[in-house]
Symmetry: C2
Subunit: 138 residues, 2 copies
Amino acid sequence: MKLLDISEVARQSGVAASALRHYEEKGLIHSAGRRGLKRLFGPEVLDQLAVIRLGKAAGFSLEEIKGMFGPDGRPSLSRPVLRTKADDLDDQIARMTSLRDMIRHVADCPAPRHIECPKFQKLIRISARRSAVKPSKF
Amino acid sequence: MKLLDISEVARQSGVAASALRHYEEKGLIHSAGRRGLKRLFGPEVLDQLAVIRLGKAAGFSLEEIKGMFGPDGRPSLSRPVLRTKADDLDDQIARMTSLRDMIRHVADCPAPRHIECPKFQKLIRISARRSAVKPSKF
DNA sequence: TCTTGACCTTAAGTCGACTTGAACTTGTAG
DNA sequence: CTACAAGTTCAAGTCGACTTAAGGTCAAGA
């Protein structure tokens, strides 16, 4: 039963100790106990931190991430809610793909003002339509 | 030459008037002039706002978005930098795809604690490896 | 001409996610 | 036994992206 102190968790996860305390305070992670004052974490916290990192990269708030993976790693959301989250992600992935295409286009297209390039406009319109249809996040 | 007042831009774009002023202050958009005190915007601002919305959804800061599409819609970044941004986006898309898969798995897998499900762990490890290899954003 | 409502400016406030600072505690090495 | 590095708590600060409040301006309609 190898327990890790906070600096070890910080080192292995790349998450600052202050952030780890913050996550614990917010209930996203839990220490397995203390040695004196010092927190000790079980190794599973590293996986949990990977999920947190991922969730953040995907644009979820700590509160949402906490909701997704419950107090102790168990998912606390119902299947339909999770499916909705997954669909939101699909949406966001589509947006990001649009933006990526747009940026690649800008990098390659010789037009001086991209806002006037028909292809660029088409890309914009596509994404604008998407957000018009489903403005869930705005 | 149809110019739009701020509330019309807000209505058509779904962006709050206060946010539009904020964007102008930060140099992301520009008003075409004034009628009295009141800002008038050219219609191209709507496309610019679509780009801004997209960039935000993709996790870029206003500063970065401004950098990507320059003061007046022209790209101010060099091609290599843009290509790097596009690659970052590919990366982030991959992360989000991982998370989506993870969430869908959680929604479907009957295991009580997903952190202990081998498939789930595999998904986590994959994403953890990705961020270990390229910790650009952390 | 007068009123009104939409817009203006500036400053301050808010929110999330941390970070930083100050003062305190403790297991462990010397 | 003592010193000290590494932790601790709690409060306050920071940063980005806005929003809100307070007070001011002005084009247009009655």
